[in-house]
Structure formats: C-alpha cells, structure tokens
Amino acid sequence: MATPSAVTRSAAGPSRPVPTGRTTELVLVLAAVLTAVFGYVEVGVDLDGTAPADAAEYGAALGVIALAAHAVVRWRARYADPLLLPIAVLLNGIGLVVIYRLDRATPGRAAASAQLLWSALGVALFIAVVLLVRDHRRLRRYAYLGAFAALVLLVLPIFFPPVYGSRIWIVIGPLSFQPGEFAKILLAVFFAAYLAVHRDALALTGRRVWRWQLPRGRVLGPVLLIWAAFVGVLVLETDLGTSLLFFGLFVVMLYVATARTGWIAIGLGLAAVGAVTVGWLSPHVHSRVADWLDPLGSIAAGRGANQIAQSLFAFAWGGELGTGLGNGHSVLIGFAAKSDFILATIGEELGLTGLIAVFLLYAALVSRGFRTGIALRDPFGRLLAIGLASIVALQVFVVAGGVLALIPLTGMTMPFIAQGGSSVVTNWIIVALLVRVSDIARRPASEEVA
C-alpha cells in the first residue's frame, strides 16, 4: 500500500495528496482518553480529596485499547472518517468514569473493571471487523443467514427466567447477555441487503389512498410477516424498547430505500397497533405507561418515588451545571442506576451542559454515519451505513426519552455509556462497520478495491 504522502486522487489527474485525517483522529483519541482520565481524577478529588490510585491504570488501559484501535484504522482503513473512533472512545470513557463513580456509591457491586474488560473485548472485535471485513459488500452473502440467526437470538431468552420483568437475557452461570443487542446488527445487514435488491419492487405504485400510494399486497406480505414475527417475539419477552427499536429501524430503512411516505404511514399505524396490543397484554408495559403519564403519581398515592420520579429528581438536582462527579445522589434510583438509568447520573453530576454535550456526541456519531451512507455508491452500503446510524439514534432516543419521561420507559442501554457487556461489544462492532464503509466511501478512485 502506498504511503499517505504519495496518495493521489487518480493516476491521470494532478498529483495532489488526499487528506486521510489520521492525525486528526490520533489527536482526538488522545483528547478523549485524557478527558476520561480527568473524569477519574475528579471522582477521586470530590470523594476523597486526592486523585484515585487506580486512575493511572484505568487511563492507561483505556489509552492502550484506544491507540490499538487507532493503529489498526491507520493500517487497514486509512481513509475512514476521523471522527467515528474518537467519539466512540470518548463515550466509552465517559461511561467507564460514571460507572467507576457509581461503584463508589454501591460498595460490593463494583462494575467498572468488568466494564473495562468488556470495552477491551469490544475494541478487539472492532479490530477484528476492520481487519476481516475488507469490503462490506461481501456481507450481502450472509444476509439471510444473519436474519435467521437474529430470530434465533431473539427467541432464545424466552427459555430463560425474566430479569426485572423482561425476558431479554440469556443467563448462563455468572455470565449474562442480551442477544437482542447482537441481533440489531444482523438485522441492519439483512434489511440493507433485502431492500437494496427489492427497493424497486417495493416502490412500485399500488393502490392510492388519499395522498398516499400504498404498495401492492404481494410486496406488503413479507414486510407484514417480519413485523408480526418481531412483535410476537417481543410481546412474549415484554420488551417494548427493543420492539420499538427494530420496528423504527425497519421503517426508516424502508423509507430511505423506497422514498415512499406511504411506508411511514403504514409503519406508524402498525407501530400504534403493536404498542396498544403490548400495553394491553402486558401489565409490565401497562405500568410503564402509567408511570410515564404521571411520573410523580406514586408519591401522591403514598407509595414513595418510583424509578422515573427518582430519575427526574436526579436530573433536576443537576440543574444547568451539575454537582460535579461524585457529588450527586443518583444512587437513590436503585437498581439499574449504572445501566438503563446511567444518563440520570450524567444529568445530575455533569448538569444540563454535560448531558447536552453527550447528546451532541451521539448526534455527531449519527450524522457521520448518515454522511458516510450518502457518500457511498452502492445501495447496500448506503442502506447499511444509514441503518447502523439509525440504530444508534433510535436507541439513544428510546433510552434517554424514557429516563427523561419524554416517552414510556423501556429497558434498554445507552450506547457505549451504560453498564452491560453485550451493549458495549455490539456498539464497537457498529462503529467498526461504519469505519469500514467510511473508509471505502472516502477512498480515492485509484485505490478502489477491485
């Protein structure tokens, strides 16, 4: 492979080097690691008055895995978008710091070191994906296999006991993971492959109802089948969040592929039917909706503050600027403070400022994903990048909207930040795929893979 300085846009054109952005990426990655180290130090200073002894270790560990990822990108994906990796490192670092901080409030239930190990595993898989998936188009071959695997992964937890009311976990001894997390990627690949092939057929004009052109029944059939399969599985698992995520992803990708607003109308209609059905069938979801409609209702009813109320208390206490790491009381939320509700700690201790900064990091990650998708030339790659970015956006909205009482709470994790091995690993794979497709999107024509 040619050295960066010798890279030219095309053999025939003027000899002008294409900027790869790798130095920018390196600087930003180092800044992200330093931000996390600063976070560790702040936790120690606020709680003990001195920098914690293990801050250097945590910082070094995060630095090593971040630089390893950078080195592999530099070696094998030189033209990748230089913002993707630093944003992932920063979000992962913020998550580690906040979990490290919450460990201090929950003695005996330390999670930070496990989360660091999961992060390392996530980066290992990131490296593996960047190295092994040299051309994303090869993934098309596995689309149907992936869809089948996704369905299996989604069905499996039904045979395991429910955790906190949801059957989304597979528990084997001390290990537990949420297979739904991995299923997201497989489904995004499948949807991208399916829609890239069938988008013309799906866009064919069918019946016209008022302003919308509805697709023909023959094309609608498989779509409804997919919808029914997922809703059926998710009703059995009583997990509204994953249901919402998958269906939202499907509708967004369908629209992007076919440009048919009719699909959005159908999607919203089906989503409404699904939501009402799930809310009607499942008392677990029903109570979540009641808590969303009146988060403080349980206090008036004399049952004390529920988790949503405690979450709102935490956000409110943070105000504009937050209490500073270590000075908040988000541990009052109780269980899931480090996972589903981790955003409340960020809101309380880093304030509205820190919270919006985190939201903007996600927004930047998502917009880089969409940008990559638009810049690509093959429909599969375009749909895949947009699908992966949509997963992140939808999941952030569903989780953050839930803990902020904007929408009913659903059991899902904040990408990269929340405690949870399956989540961190999955999100590193998503970023790896985005890095890979963005490398191809930005690669000069002279270096195109044959």
Partner: protein, 502 residues
C-alpha cells in the same frame, strides 16, 4: 425508463437515497433535539419543583452533609455534630441537652427543628445568604458554606442555677438583663435530651414517641410557650398603672380602699390571705408588702380597664408576635370585662395569663427605670471563621412608666423583700426587689396553686440599672406550703446570686 421524472434518481424517479437519507438523518437529529428540549425542561424549568418534592431526599441529604454550626453559651458550644456513617452524614449532639433544651430546641433528621435550632436553621446549616461573599461563584461551583454559629445571650451560671433550683419540680425560669433585654436564663422542667432523637433510626423514633407520650410534657417550653395565671405578681403591673395615672401619688399615704371590698355588681367580697390586709385605708406600700387582694383589686377598677390593659400591653401582654427570636406564647390580659372581672384580673386571676418571659419583662421594666427592653436570646451570629454576620442591638420595647413612677414601684418591690412576703429572696450585700404570687387554678381552685416570684437585684450601693431581673413559676410541686415566697423565691434568689456573683 420513460417514466423517470426529473426530480430524483431513485425508483420510478422518486428521490434517491441521497435525498431520503438526508431526510432520515434530519429526522434522527430532530429526535436528539427533542431530547435536549426535554432535558432543559426537566433540569431548568421543573428543577425547583422537583428539588422540593417531598419524596426527594436530596435537600435532607445536603442539609446533613456537613457538621451543623454550633449554639454557644459564653465561649463554649453547647451543641456538636457527630458523624453517622449513614446517608445523612452528620447528626446533632448536645453537650448538656436537658439544661439548654428550652433555648436550643432540637434539630432532628426525622422530626425537624424547633427553638433556636429552628429560627437560626439556615445559618446553622450554611444556606443563609449572609454567610457567602461571592454568591454567584458559590452557585456556579456549588460550594456549600460551612454552618455559622449562634452565640446566645445566656449566662451559664444563671442557667445552671435555674435548672438546679427547679430540680424535680414542674416549672420555669426566665431571667433578663433589664438595661439591654438580654435573656440570661431560660429554663423549663421537666426537661428532655434533644440529642436522644437527633437521627432517624429506630432508637430515635422510640425516644421521640416516649417523650411525646409522657404526661409530664417534657418537650413543652414552659418559659416561653406556656402561660399561667400570674396571681399576685401581676399586682406590680396594677401598682404601676395606678401610679402612672395618678390614682395613687404617694405610696405611703392612706388610700380610699374600702374593707371589705365587695366585687362590683356582686355580693362577693374579695378576700385576703392575711389579716394584716383586713382594714380600710391601707397605703399602697402596705398593701403590696402584705399582698392585699382587696386594695389592688379596688385600685385596678379605679384605674379602669383601658389603662390597665394599656399598662399590661407595655410589659408584653397581648403581644402575639413576641419573638426572641423564638416566638413566645401570647400572654393575655382581657380587654372586654365587667368591673368584677377587672378587679380579679388586677390581682392576676380571672383569665389573666402570662408566660414567665413576660413576667420577667415586668420586673425588668421596673428595674430599668420604666423602660422595657425587647428581650433577645441571640448575642451574635458568626461565620465558621468567627467573623460576625450580625450582632445584637438592644432595642426599646416600650416606655412603660416614667422613671419617677418606676422608682416608686421599685420601692414597693424592695419593701416586699425587706419586710413582706418575699423575705426568702434577700441577698446579703445586694438590693433586691420582688413580688410573690400564688395563683389559684383548676375547677373550684382544686389544682395545686402556681407559685410565682418575680424580682430584680443589684449590688448594694450601686446606682446603675440592676443587672438581673427574673421570673420563676413552680407548678404542681409536691411541697406542702405552696406559696411563691416559699417555693419560687429561693430559686429566683439563686439565679440572681449567680448573675451578681455573690
């Protein structure tokens, strides 16, 4: 391909992925924008309400996150803070809880605050705006100010003498420095240990429940918050009113008081406790020395309801907002009575009722040449570094009587101690003026009478304002001789001696 329309390069000329992808991306960014809006709503606009929600423990946690400021008597704190190791990091402790309970009150994690702990709570917790120099910076950095200290006006020796004197009896003592209104002692018995329920554990709840159920009401502050019929000690107010209005001009001259004195509009004579009173035409001085009901009742009626009520008001009666800064209960002198009721009220019976604090104000006003100073319990408020936030300024409550009248009342009171019912309050080397009272109460006067004594004292030969005035009430004592002179005067004496240092 003929059907391709010019507006897009997607299927059938519909917009291509470049366009739909951009729209979907915009939609995703709108979702993030919605989150930012909702976060702003919760964290900025709804924050105050959520912070104050009764189920939100944060205000309480913050409140007990650091040691509370102290309440001091002299230079010594009578309070402290102990680390709990729990969610509420520090709880209140008291060095000698029962002795100062009527002053400090309590600061309990479970049951809130009262007395000085309540009125000075913001300063003690550190949230008082006066503690901070750079409030904007403090708000940004969320720095919590250390709690400030409350320096009381109490005199440790006087307070301890009052508690010792009351002992196992039910009663109260209030002592004031007449020239300034500084409260020197404020004691109530039976007392309680406010530290016994400072936390929020099961022990604390048990201690609290026990105190609440106690029939002796140990948590009642009898010096400030309870009124008793003042009995004959009120005759000092009646004498001051009669002299101020010229009903009597010479305390040694015979008055026109009849004997027996039949209550106006009735056939009931106002009886005396001693045969020395049973003659007509006694002088005011003789009547006060022997505590004659008939003479003072008659004088009250002669002075008239309006003037009697006005004079009572000068000494703190009928003031519903007497804050020291702890609010004292309203002492009552009725303003709508017939003459027989006025006669009884003038000797501190009927529905006249006073807190020990107000009766101490009566003695202090007389001692301070007729000027009643506003009673105050707080000498100064300081920051944790000792710098002063606020220092007490003595202020006049009312000019009750002119100095000449005050001198006449002083003479009446010294004669009570020298020659009359207040002999038990005599102190060698000091001039003492006082007045006893033994108030009936209960149905048909069946209850054990309230034994009262109010007095002031100064070193012999001193021309300055007496440094101490005191009121003592003993209620429901086990003693057989329940009179103010026998039960209350010795307690007043020991408190006055403690202040005089003799």
């Amino acid at each position: 391909m003929a059907r391709i329309r010019p507006r897009g390069n997607g299927p059938q000329g519909l917009p291509g992925i470049s366009v739909t992808g951009r729209r979907a991306g915009t939609f995703c960014l709108l979702l993030v924008a919605a989150l930012c809006v909702q976060a702003t709503r919760v964290q900025v606009f709804q924050a105050g309400e959520l912070d104050r929600n009764s189920a939100n423990q944060r205000l309480t946690i913050e409140r007990y996150a650091q040691p509370r400021g102290d309440i001091l008597v002299g230079t010594e704190p009578v309070t402290g803070s102990v680390a709990t190791g729990g969610r509420y990091a520090y709880k209140r402790s008291y060095t000698d809880g029962p002795t100062y309970a009527a002053v400090t009150g309590y600061a309990s994690q479970a049951y809130g605050t009262t007395q000085l702990e309540g009125t000075e709570d913001e300063l003690l917790t550190g949230t008082d705006g006066r503690l901070t120099g750079w409030s904007l910076w403090d708000a940004v950095s969320r720095r919590q100010n250390p709690g400030g200290d409350v320096h009381t006006t109490l005199n440790r020796a006087a307070q301890e003498a009052a508690m010792r004197g009351l002992g196992g009896q039910t009663g109260a003592v209030a002592a004031i420095e007449p020239a300034t209104g500084r409260i020197l002692a404020l004691a109530s018995t039976p007392s309680y240990d406010p530290g016994s329920f400072a936390g929020h554990a099961a022990d604390d709840q048990e201690a609290w429940n026990r105190l609440q159920a106690d029939p002796d009401q140990p948590m009642l502050n009898r010096a400030l918050r309870q009124t008793y019929p003042p009995g004959s000690t009120f005759k000092v107010v009646t004498a001051a009113a009669a002299l101020a209005d010229g009903v009597v001009t010479d305390i040694d001259a015979p008055t026109a008081a009849p004997h027996p004195y039949v209550l106006p509009g009735t056939t009931t004579p106002l009886v005396n406790d001693t045969p020395a009173c049973d003659r007509a035409g006694l002088s005011l001085d003789a009547a006060m020395t022997a505590s004659c009901n008939s003479v003072l009742g008659w004088l009250g009626v002669r002075t008239g309801l309006d003037r009697m009520a006005a004079m009572a008001g000068n000494f703190g009666f009928d003031d519903a907002k007497l804050d020291v800064p702890v609010r004292a209960a309203r002492s009552a002198f009725d303003t709508r009575m017939d003459e027989s009721q006025l006669a009884l009220s003038s000797i501190g019976q009927f529905d006249t009722a006073a807190t020990p604090l107000v009766m101490a104000m009566v003695a202090a006003g007389v001692a301070d040449d007729g000027t009643v100073m506003r009673p105050q319990l707080v000498d100064s408020l300081t920051r944790s570094d000792g710098t002063v936030v606020r220092r007490m300024k003595p202020t006049v409550y009312r000019q009750a009587v002119p100095p000449a009248v005050a001198a006449q009342v002083q003479k009446l009171m010294t004669d009570v101690v020298e020659n009359g019912t207040g002999g038990n309050a005599r102190i060698a080397g000091a001039v003492v003026g006082g007045k006893t009272g033994t108030a009936q109460h209960g149905v048909e006067n069946s209850g054990t009478p309230y034994a009262w004594f109010i007095s002031w004292a100064k070193p012999a030969g001193s021309t300055a304002v007496p440094p101490v005035a005191v009121a003592v009430v003993v209620a429901d004592s086990d003693a057989t001789d329940v009179t103010g002179g026998a039960l209350a005067a010795p307690i007043a004496r020991s408190v006055m001696r403690a202040v005089l240092g003799v």
